[in-house]
Symmetry: C2
Subunit: 321 residues, 2 copies
């Protein structure tokens, strides 16, 4: 009942390893192009919930180099891997992502690696939703692991939180200010802490500070974030990093957390799609529907305020339950 | 019929110049606290559509210093002014905004200046919506001008585009890469270009490059962006900058663009409020309503895909029109 014979041509091409078809479908997702719909719909049943590993952390901590080495490690243990570099602050792919793209082109002859940068352009639900849909295509296309790197500093955690099954927060020694950042949001999303550049002075202190922070969180029945030290100049710790990620992925299965997490992610995704669609419909109707135009006229005239108008609009469009 | 006798106490306090009441109400908006509702609803009729001037531009171009000098200029011509510093990349106010806050505390004794940093925390519709609502309070409180500075680099243009009546894009000489940035989004939102640090070499080239870009845009019946040079080290050009902003504000009135812009902003605001409320309702219902839970179960089981589920959910909740 997976309906293989009914797959659209583009979906068949993606499943048979056609990289151009895959890239075109991701562009369609990115642009909010309706062509993406049939492909996503037909391939969803083929997804296997492969690990989606998100990397967050301040600029300059070396996320890209780390991911580059992690890709090499995964290839050395015969895993195929796709990398998505997301720039939530830019409506355009390319730009700051370009450097990575060039680096990854060095791997163009390895069919076991796929690299893609993504931006928010016209994607329904924004770049996080588009990245999640692209990850599903990569899953259906047979990649064993999807790595997601957030480029730039805008709303890093949001995208990673919504789509990754394992979240890696990358930091460097001399946490000082970083500890503040952690408290401000990154800390609570981390499944794995990666202290990169452990060859720099202060690495031991950084790991100790992190271990102390991790120790503050309640642990019973919950995952205790792992702390890993890595270096990308004299490559070290990369296998440990992957080991910590795999340990978290195993925990997701053994604890049943993968099921609940998946359910929450799907809820957020479906609600996001409905919310965006209703938003587009309502915008059109406030411009065209006579009753709703009058409602807007009264707000413009300062007779009713926007919040009151929103309450009325909600009641006008919502089926009573 | 403005209903002055029915104003809630907090709204009355705000109108009578009580700074603490104003600050508390803005915090309530920021936190998505329901207390903000009655205040906003009651004060909306008192808003006068004062200029909301948004400042966008890359990090390090000197937006904060420029705004500081603009505040001094406005006070010297007897205008009262409120400044909102928005950090869309942070869920917390403070942090990078702290420096500004300290600087503006020097003006704590001047009742004609109000400074506030804002973050997205729990605000309905995000930080842009919260900033728009805060601007209305500042308008109702009697401030003549609201200046909005976006701190950090995340989704700068979005917040400014949605709420400002005049958008100032601040740049520095040696545009090179900046011209790329402009093409990538800032250019199309600029009503005024401010080339700051004109004492640096390359300022003339930068202005010429900008003038060329501005010349490419069609001009008939439309506003042609002004280009102003400023310096904050040896203060110069600040009065010119304000002159360019005022010229754009006059154009908005004379051309009728203020009315259409206001209508579009209100549409986006009302739709955003409804969309967010429906999103919260649907999230709750997917967790609790038996029919919707079954729909989600089928998505989890890979029997139907998220986009198809979203279509069904939309049809289930939307009143047919």
């Amino acid at each position: 009942m997976t309906g293989a014979p009914r797959l659209p041509a583009a979906a068949r091409a993606i499943c048979s390893g056609d990289r151009r078809a895959l890239a075109r479908a991701i562009t369609a997702i990115e642009n909010g192009d309706p062509d993406a719909g049939p492909i996503l719909r037909s391939l969803y049943a083929r997804t296997r919930q492969v690990p989606i590993v998100g990397f967050a952390g301040p600029l300059g901590v070396g996320k890209s180099s780390l991911i580059n080495l992690l890709v090499s490690h995964l290839r050395s243990v015969a895993r195929t891997v796709a990398v998505i570099a997301v720039d939530p602050s830019s409506p355009f792919s390319g730009g700051s992502v370009l450097g990575d793209r060039i680096r990854f082109e060095a791997r163009a002859n390895d069919a076991g690696v796929f690299f893609r940068s993504m931006a928010s352009r016209g994607a329904a639900g924004g770049v996080a939703a588009a990245t999640l849909e692209a990850s599903r295509l990569l899953d259906a296309a047979g990649f064993d692991v999807v790595l997601v790197e957030t480029v730039g500093s805008g709303q890093v955690d949001v995208a990673i939180r919504e789509i990754a099954s394992t979240r890696v927060v990358v930091l460097v020694p001399h946490l000082g200010d970083e500890v503040q950042t952690l408290k401000a949001g990154l800390f609570e999303i981390a499944d794995v802490f990666c202290v990169n550049k452990i060859d720099l002075p202060g690495a031991d202190t950084a790991r100790r500070d992190l271990a102390e922070l991790v120790g503050l969180a309640p642990a019973a029945g919950r995952w205790t974030p792992r702390i890993v030290g890595t270096s990308t100049t004299v490559p070290s710790g990369i296998a440990d990093l992957w080991g910590a990620i795999e340990a978290h992925e195993s925990f997701l299965d053994s604890s049943g957390t993968r099921r609940t997490g998946e359910r929450q992610r799907l809820t957020a995704e479906i609600v996001g799609l409905v919310r965006d669609r209703l938003g587009r419909e309502l915008t059109r109707e406030l411009e065209n529907d006579p009753d709703l135009r009058r409602l807007l006229d009264r707000v413009v005239a300062r007779e009713i305020d926007p919040r009151t108008a929103a309450d009325r609009l909600r009641n006008a469009v919502r089926r009573s339950r």
